[in-house]
Symmetry: D2
Amino acid sequence: MRFETHVVENETSRSYPYVSYRKTTRLRSLLQRETLDFLMEAHDGLSARIAENIGFMGLWASGLTISTALGYRDANEASPIQVLDAVERMADVTDVPILVDGDTGYGNFNNARLFAKKLCDRGAAGVCIEDKIFPKLNSFVGEDHDLAEIPEFCGRLRAIRDRVPDRDFVTVARTEALIAGKGQNEALDRAHAYAEAGADAILIHSRQANASEIFAFADRWQNRLPVVIVPTKYHSTPTCEFAEKRISVAIWANHNMRAAARAMEDVCLRISNEGAISGVEKDVMALDRIFELFKYCELDEASRRY
Amino acid sequence: MRFETHVVENETSRSYPYVSYRKTTRLRSLLQRETLDFLMEAHDGLSARIAENIGFMGLWASGLTISTALGYRDANEASPIQVLDAVERMADVTDVPILVDGDTGYGNFNNARLFAKKLCDRGAAGVCIEDKIFPKLNSFVGEDHDLAEIPEFCGRLRAIRDRVPDRDFVTVARTEALIAGKGQNEALDRAHAYAEAGADAILIHSRQANASEIFAFADRWQNRLPVVIVPTKYHSTPTCEFAEKRISVAIWANHNMRAAARAMEDVCLRISNEGAISGVEKDVMALDRIFELFKYCELDEASRRY
Amino acid sequence: MRFETHVVENETSRSYPYVSYRKTTRLRSLLQRETLDFLMEAHDGLSARIAENIGFMGLWASGLTISTALGYRDANEASPIQVLDAVERMADVTDVPILVDGDTGYGNFNNARLFAKKLCDRGAAGVCIEDKIFPKLNSFVGEDHDLAEIPEFCGRLRAIRDRVPDRDFVTVARTEALIAGKGQNEALDRAHAYAEAGADAILIHSRQANASEIFAFADRWQNRLPVVIVPTKYHSTPTCEFAEKRISVAIWANHNMRAAARAMEDVCLRISNEGAISGVEKDVMALDRIFELFKYCELDEASRRY
Amino acid sequence: MRFETHVVENETSRSYPYVSYRKTTRLRSLLQRETLDFLMEAHDGLSARIAENIGFMGLWASGLTISTALGYRDANEASPIQVLDAVERMADVTDVPILVDGDTGYGNFNNARLFAKKLCDRGAAGVCIEDKIFPKLNSFVGEDHDLAEIPEFCGRLRAIRDRVPDRDFVTVARTEALIAGKGQNEALDRAHAYAEAGADAILIHSRQANASEIFAFADRWQNRLPVVIVPTKYHSTPTCEFAEKRISVAIWANHNMRAAARAMEDVCLRISNEGAISGVEKDVMALDRIFELFKYCELDEASRRY
């Protein structure tokens, strides 16, 4: 079983009781079940391992945060293979399913299906692609967010479905209709078209400070497919309201990276000002905790065993 | 000039007054001048950009933290080319020189010189190699730290010097004699041998909670070559004492990663407990600040210009 | 078929009549059955695709030839991740199983098991590791071929078996005892120890111009495990003799690369001398044949479909 | 000097008399001087090393052949970073300048300048980009070759010029106007616009079986900038005619790969039919010749020296 291929990197995984299904199957269940679930952003092996360890049931491999960690701007400066490599590192050190932010699919239907196929090979459980044109720009930056033609974007979705052999691999269609200021009708038309094209869920994106346009969409959409949201901008909307609107998955889309960035800025500033590290010692993770997270003890045992 | 090749990624670099020398030359100066200087750890583009932005004059590309970010253990699980790729990402988004933790050089003299040569090509200013055997284990883990034979390790140093074409590229020889419990005489013998072999500086490593064995070394070494230290374990020793002992460079060796790890663990826990992101919003870096760090505005201007 | 090549890696492949088993299972069968089988060397996507297309039932991803194609020497100058990437490209465009030349495993037991695990993830069907020390040098070059200690090498073998989750993934133990001039007893002792440690087959290597020492080994070994050979140097020994000696698999270990190198040297020389390409046109592969090998027509159909 | 950074990989390079200029400067000279020069296709370290060794003064890193070697179709299936990695391997083992086929620049002005900047960092001497839209399809396949808008493509050219710090790095603008069936006026209009935008040379592409449309272009263009051609389809046109038309550079664009592919197909077929390798032994390159090309003797000497 493919799933087994990926869990064992983490030695203890064999004993996790819940690891009885493949990652793709588990992500699919997460989307389809009635409850509201959460995906936590991760951008490298460390952030993924930490998020899993705290108990998140799934991860969001964010295009923005993978790019940022690499030192690229979220404008398709990173090559798809670099994103793929980052995702593989996350998948290799965790047991929870990963939904990957596939941007626009990095080109046309052919690029999209190739990328999705390789994501599946490398251990991801699903991909989300958005209805913009390559190269994209981050949805929170500027006003230049042209939408793809509906049939062309549906072609990308269908090509992914036809290519990825694991039937449980999840394809989420993200519409930027509201980001582009095209209104609810456009968003709904697109969502319906994407459902026809075989999407497993719809991610409806918004950059308003409140969830009203998201909720308006949800009311009319009537859960034809599970709805996924990214409340980065409307973070103050109480989560229970998402549940009431029968949102399926909320993605905490960039908070590991932003927490890390803030902490690094703080620690750099303090060390720079204090000319010393003793002051920050108690505020950073102990090395032993790092060694524990990545099971250095297993290495020690193993070196005696082999 | 090679240096120019690397700085321009960062648009504003052209106006930095101090960017009048190549990175290798600047790292060399940092080592050779009388004052005590500091290198801040970085492990990816983001951490490097932040550390530079706060004002550090040089970076330490740590083997431990690059490995950890990738989700590997610090036991040469990451391929040298993965470390190289990480260093390139750091070099591409910063103007300050980077000293790279080259572990043992990833094998024999041939692996070491090849790695150093590529580091130079990819924008690093120097490499530090340690007198252990590939694959190494982190110096703070376990007791299994066999030292390399002196002539063999000197061969690695000489091979690097002969191969890297940039005469200012820095080669730091790190001795693990004290880590391995071999005592001061061994450490000094090795340091002298490494000086003969062409090292530009000596990194004397210790995992004691105080600096006494470091200082004992410094007293007898008499600065034949600049001394570099890594006060991770003896962090409570006042920095002024390092200066008094005429230490050349102190490396804050893993604090960006440890700050990030702690912050990610905290933010994951809070979001998980609160089932929401609104509570952490003010404690993570604003997205606009991320966009500023990586000059998204340049992208906007440029898209009008081109 | 290229497109199918991408699906067969996984689940749906089971419906193809000839692809009725996983690649690992098929390689295992190839080794275990009575007949003599052949693996053809490949070093990149193109060579793999061609070898499969001609009808070879399995491929040998050679360390020498992958290194050479990349422009490295066969002395572990290439990073394991570069070999892994090359293997993935081969696996992605072919349906036949690939046995990967894993050199020494790139370090100790930990490097070996990590490499084997990733090979399995990336689509290889098996790995072969040899009982030398990292970094190795090509077996046909020089006299410096120190053997690893038997227990240490067995540790590498056991670590691979314990780590790779696919039970059919093949681990071949290659002994360099004859290359190192240690004689038949050493070779046999090692082979028996490697069998105990869980190897699936023994590769007995020789650089003599005839197969006598290989046959002497085979006579005493009595097929406790299947025997694999690399007749590069004793190429003039008739293949039927291998079959008589009940050799399981013969590897044509570098002939695609050497054919390519010779042809490129010839074509460069001719074009250089003639100052024109018209003379060589009929002697190089037609572009249409390249397009056929990689099914450009599928791309055309697909662009109409999506 | 950057150039020095790249030549020393090849030990003997120091003694080459002509290596007195940087690779970028030499490629620029090649383009600008009156004589007709040739670039030979290469796609990996081995093909590059062979072409240089035979005496070609420059190399063409072809998108088609790099893709094909990797097992991708020439439709931007390979990530830009994979092309970059391939080019670096070529540059590391050769002293002659490399002009890189940059396809469309892999997206918009930002992707194009980032790619060109990294090519320069990794040792290429120039880039050629074509006036089509990402993702492109090979010019010899199908009829679907939409041209980019002139101002947008000029933006890509200007962005490259502004970003790459080495003033001698060459930017070749390739127009597909004739491929797209747009006629001479369109081709000329575009060439003039690209010259205004700062291109260093114009590559005029054709897939006709004779050079008449190329020559018609050359007659009207009057060498405002040097002209580069790719005579793959009109190979039977005598080279002297190119010189008469004052073509600056002719690219032998895929012949190493096609020679290799043909030879591999032949050798696979023969080995498969003969069930043996003895028959082909004399027709493939001797291993010793491979060892010579990559200077294994240097490794041997060095292992005694270090």
